[in-house]
Subunit: 244 residues, 2 copies
DNA sequence: GGCAAAGCAAGAGCAATGCTCTCGTTTGTG
DNA sequence: CACAAACGAGAGCATTGCTCTTGCTTTGCC
């Protein structure tokens, strides 16, 4: 049958492709991206190393596939954290998503390094990675959007220097949010990964002990930064105004 | 003479060691740490690759030397930025140091990646790197210390959850600063490298255009976070209270 | 149905890597 | 002066990413 005609080969192809990615992900999780070896993957799968090139034209292409998967995995974790905190208000959701992202990073350090660590030299992420990378960021945009439509956000003052850039970013990322909020959100997003990266990459060794408390504190501050909490007044979502 | 007896070999050794590091740093700057090849270094220096192992027992040891140098280089850049901004008040110095660190990172992306990017798997930084790594951090501690002894710092509230950890960190890092300030400083430090890392590693591509303005904005916010600017009142060092 | 074309797997091979071992040679020390 | 330590060079090993060629199987078209 033609469906199987389009199927036997095609299905085998996606199955083998999946098996390769699975084994590659296993090696990635165990040894890190640098140690990921095409030959070792092929060996483990019982096939010739040259056969692997039918599925991924180069090692970088395999890496790209893993990068996309990692972004999606992170995005899914962020979404799950958001959904699990549906009824605790915007600040609670923000906190939950941040902790979800952190939890994912701590649980998948090598995959985290793959997407937020040192990029491989000479490698520029193909455009296919962009939507995957956006997935987790969209979660916090959504939270801010909801908060803005609901109780409202603290709109921070916007310096003349930053205003044009903030307007541009808002138009690109979230036209329904105030430019000042968008600018602070982008900054907070980057800063969040500073906190997480320091923890995952060991920069907090011998410095921060109680990482949970420390992270919660910093995330609370970021919620403030981003406009989810009003500066000197009551909480917008059931939390103190000036965290820790 | 015994001095030259201790010298000819010894001097040659440190000269060759320096030459190796120099060439290695050149390759690092051009191609990145992953592409750094012992054989290529030896080739460029006109020596056999095996001879190189007399100076660095392994590739990781060469990397470690480069890591220390990179930390020192960054620390020197931070100190220079601080010294160049001696008379602009604490907030100005904070801003200058942050921009100095960022400038160094943008100017030495591969060395930045070496120290703040993905750590090489299975590699744990030997203790010799710790003081070098601390050098840049000490600069901001010094700024906060000066500000605290001078005009004073805004002492943020400290949650019960974080207090013990903050006290511990303060005892370790800066016993003369309020624990709440120390905790926020550590967080701000990590967040700073989130901003810088996103820019250096290309995460801001297609998102942030005017990086200078954006960075200045975020750094101003961090100055606020860290207590250099009082929440709702006048500046402590010649700058507006609520930046951008 | 039959048959050319395309997809596929395997092996050999190439250039390169980190690292080890061995063998002379140079250098410093008792 | 003699001996041990440091040194440089070469050969070699195991491994890597990737290419090329050689056969075999599946697919799609006439």
């Amino acid at each position: 049958m033609t469906s199987s005609a389009h199927g036997v080969r095609a299905r085998a192809r996606i199955e083998v492709t999946a098996a390769i990615k699975e084994e590659a992900r296993r090696q990635l999780a165990k040894e890190g991206a640098v140690k990921l070896s095409l030959r070792a993957v092929a060996r483990e799968l019982g096939m010739a190393s040259s056969a692997l090139y039918r599925y991924f034209p180069s090692r970088d292409d395999l890496l790209t596939a893993l990068i996309i998967d990692a972004y999606e995995s992170l995005g899914a974790a962020a979404e799950a954290a958001r959904d699990a905190a549906a009824d605790v208000g915007p600040v609670g959701r923000w906190t939950a998503v941040c902790e979800g992202v952190r939890g994912w990073a701590l649980g998948h350090p090598h995959e985290y390094a793959l997407i937020y660590g040192t990029p491989v030299p000479g490698y520029t992420a193909p455009d296919t990675t962009v939507p995957a990378a956006a997935r987790s960021a969209l979660v916090v945009i959504g939270i801010l959007r909801d908060a803005h439509r609901g109780l409202g956000l603290a709109e921070p003052p916007l310096s003349a220097e930053l205003r044009p850039e903030a307007v541009r970013m808002a138009a690109d990322l979230a036209p329904d949010l105030p430019p000042g909020v968008v600018a602070r959100m982008v900054a907070a997003w980057a800063q969040l990964f500073g906190l997480i990266g320091f923890e995952v990459f060991g920069q907090f060794n011998r410095v921060v002990e109680d990482r949970d408390a420390f992270f919660r504190h910093a995330v609370g501050r970021l919620a403030h930064t981003v406009g989810l909490v009003y500066p000197q007044q009551g909480p917008a979502g059931g939390r103190a105004a000036e965290p820790s």
